[in-house]
């Protein structure tokens, strides 16, 4: 009994794992917004996490948007109904999709355990894995094409078919990019969720 209690102390629950994923997405998306130059750099403030300096938006509307979206995502993550989260960068004028960041989610471990599922993976190791992905995101500017237009972003969540449409949410069409090129980043896992990150962008040629 005591060993089980000790074991559970450091274990990550399904909810905790969902929190880790949402935190990663929050930092990752902010980092993308900064690195891809979607918003003026004055709107960003450096925050330390994962042993990195990550630039986070200070714009209240963006913060609110991300908080609501990720809050909803967390609910779905706990219910295991999400397959993918996509960050879409579109040209404001032509509404053309310029770039898409795909965060694919796989469910690992004993899914039959339901909400009681736990993982023994050390948090530090997970954070290190996340740090490596975030670093790759930050260095992606060196090969991604310049977004030479006013751009906006949107987040789409791909769920299983049995999910009810929540209030203030709408069905969207998946964004496709013409002449696309894709680069896969590292992935990380909490042993409950596994997240793959990839960027798809328009090839100039």
């Amino acid at each position: 009994m005591t060993t089980a209690a000790v074991k559970n102390k450091s274990a990550i629950t399904l909810k905790g794992s969902s929190d880790i994923l949402c935190d990663y997405l929050n930092y990752g998306i902010n980092s993308i917004l900064f690195q891809r130059g979607l918003y003026p750099s004055e709107d960003f403030q450096a925050t330390e996490n994962y042993g990195l300096n990550i630039l986070m938006s200070t714009n209240n509307k963006i913060k609110e948007f991300l908080a609501t979206t990720l809050g909803q995502l967390k609910e779905w993550l706990i219910k295991r109904t999400v397959n993918r989260v996509a960050l879409i960068i579109t040209n404001v004028k032509t509404l053309e999709v310029m770039e898409r960041w795909d965060f694919t989610i796989e469910y690992e471990g004993n899914i039959e355990d339901g909400e009681a599922q736990t993982s023994d993976k050390p948090l530090k190791q997970i954070k290190n894995e996340i740090r490596d992905v975030l670093r790759q995101i930050a260095s992606s500017v060196s090969y991604l094409p310049l977004l030479d237009c006013l751009c906006s972003f949107d987040i789409q969540i791909y769920t299983t078919n049995d999910v009810e449409l929540p209030e203030k949410w709408a069905l969207a069409e998946p964004a496709n990019i013409k002449n696309a090129q894709s680069v896969k980043m590292r992935s990380f896992s909490t042993q409950i969720h596994k997240m793959d990150t990839a960027v798809t962008y328009r090839n100039e040629d």
Binding site: G37, P40, D148, C149, S152, N161, K168, W169, L171, E173
Partner: protein, 518 residues
């Protein structure tokens, strides 16, 4: 009610007025008028009473009218225009109301017509929506059992007129910082160009060093060459076997001893006056990309992220092994007074280590950890005249030069250089800082310190400037580019007048090494 009827009759008379002058109004026109007058009732409630009564007067076959009405609305008022021409043979005839094309402005309701036209458009749009639904259905089929959701309240877009700041990365614009004119002349062309065939184009290595003996050591692939800057002699010091290559080299502060780091993880010491290897020191598991001397202690940084202090005098040479970086250590340098060691890594971190109290190695816990850089930090340089000031430069994703005060651990200054910072050097003769840049500008830049205004840009390299070195007299800098050339720039020649004044005051600092040997 009766007075309304009366008014309606009057009104209907008036409404007949226009066409009557041209003869009896054609039947279709009368009908048209009826249609319009009835439908005008839609617009305002006030008119309702008499327009309905108008209907009762003029239309005798209401059922037919309705049919016509629906027929008309589809072809909005085109035919009446054309036909209204025909019954007016004499053009000089009076046309009351002044408009022959619209028979009766009083009864025709243009607003309504507009509304009807717009409605037609709407119905077309509905068709379009239907098509979209079809599309959706198809895409849903393609997606399988998936739904795609997005939040309705979208994030705001950037303010109008905002330009992507990343543009600088792609468009090769020069830094906006004004090129400040200085009183001295800085030659824009290199003094000399040396060939450096097979120099490895790797950001993480340190392949060039110019010793106090005025000999330049350069690692070209697996070989190390020595170029005597005074005589111009070139000599090959060593050649590694197999696929190994030299990853780093560093001259001892004084003397002919050169330290070399290899891909095998070994550190070799060479006596260059005799071209003889003195010893090989193990300890690292991966390539040694950075080296720094502090008196008799040689500090080496490895790809694994470890830093080892070697006491080169002892048989058991490893003094300490430090793990401060999670990725390759690519920048390593001791401050001129030997109090601090700065290390920069591919993990975007700069660590400043204090010297331990009992020797020339550093403590195993960092004094400061700077994580502000967004990319790998290879360029590190200590200020020669303020020994606690450190300059660091970040890679492509960062592009900043940051100046740190290591006594307080604060960032004193930072400047966006708009291109990858590969190396940094402080000038000895002037209060200036030199930076070697990679993508996008591939240039050497000279900055005024502490204002950090750009003094000059030295262009010529066709690929990134990987390494910088300075001659012992501080007058010349050497830049090594990935274009396999070494360029010598004579940009810090001393002012002859001022140099004479200073000569008397300059004191030669006694070497720490000599003190120890004694």
């Amino acid at each position: 009610m009766s007075q309304f009827k009366f008014w309606n009759e009057i009104n209907s008379v008036f409404s007949m007025e226009g066409p009557i002058t041209k003869g009896p109004q054609p039947r279709y026109e009368r009908k048209k008028n009826n249609v319009l007058s009835t439908s005008s009732s839609l617009n305002s409630s006030k008119q309702r009473s008499f327009s309905t009564s108008c209907l009762s007067i003029s239309s005798k076959t209401p059922s037919k009218r309705v049919e016509n009405d629906s027929g008309r609305s589809k072809t909005p008022s085109r035919t009446p225009f054309r036909k209204s021409k025909t019954p007016t043979p004499n053009k000089n005839g009076r046309t009351p109301g002044g408009d022959r094309f619209i028979p009766s402005r009083v009864n025709s309701n243009l607003d309504l017509a507009q509304y009807k036209l717009a409605q037609d458009d709407n119905s077309q749009e509905e068709n379009g929506n239907g098509r979209n639904e079809l599309k959706k259905a198809i895409s849903e089929q393609l997606l399988g059992n998936q739904k795609v959701f997005s939040y309705i309240n979208k994030a705001p877009t950037a303010p109008e007129g905002f330009q992507n700041p990343m543009r600088v990365l792609y468009s090769q614009t020069r830094t906006p910082a004004s090129v400040k004119s200085t009183s001295r002349y800085i030659p824009q062309a290199p003094d000399r160009i040396l060939d450096a065939p097979d120099i490895i184009d790797d950001f993480y290595l340190n392949l060039i060093d110019w010793g106090s003996n005025n000999i330049l050591a350069a690692a070209l692939g697996s070989q190390v060459y020595l170029w005597n800057a005074g005589t111009g002699n070139i000599e090959q010091l060593l050649s590694l076997e197999g696929n190994d290559y030299v990853c780093s080299l560093n001259w001892i502060e004084e003397g002919d001893c050169l330290a070399i780091g290899t891909t095998q993880g070994t550190v070799e010491l060479w006596d260059c006056s005799r071209s003889k290897r003195l010893r090989i020191m193990n300890g690292h598991s991966a390539r040694v990309g950075s080296l720094a001397w502090n008196s008799f202690v040689l500090t080496s940084g490895c790809r694994s992220g470890q830093i080892i202090h070697h006491d080169v005098r002892q048989r058991e040479h490893i003094l300490a092994t430090i793990s401060g970086h999670s990725q390759e250590v690519c920048g390593l340098t001791w401050s001129p007074d030997g109090r601090y060691l700065a290390s920069g890594g591919n993990d975007n971190v700069v660590n400043v280590w204090p010297r331990s109290n009992d020797g020339h190695q550093s403590e195993t816990t960092p004094l400061h950890t700077f994580v502000q850089h967004q990319a790998a930090v290879k360029a590190l340089a200590w200020c020669p005249w303020q020994p606690h000031i450190l300059a660091t430069g970040g890679g492509t994703a960062d592009r900043h030069i940051r100046i740190w005060n290591c006594n307080t651990g604060t960032c004193v200054n930072s400047i966006d250089t708009k291109s990858q910072v590969c190396s940094l050097l402080w000038a000895q003769n002037y209060k200036e800082l030199v930076s070697g840049h990679g993508f996008a500008n591939n240039e050497v830049a000279i900055w005024k310190y502490p204002a950090m205004t750009k003094v000059s840009e030295l262009k010529g390299h066709t690929a990134r400037v990987l390494h910088l070195a300075m001659s012992p007299d501080g007058s010349t800098i050497l830049s090594a580019g990935a274009d396999e050339t070494l360029r010598l720039w004579k940009c810090f020649t001393k002012d002859p007048v001022r140099a004479k004044d200073k000569e008397g005051t300059v004191k030669v600092k006694p070497s720490a090494l000599r003190q120890c040997i004694r």
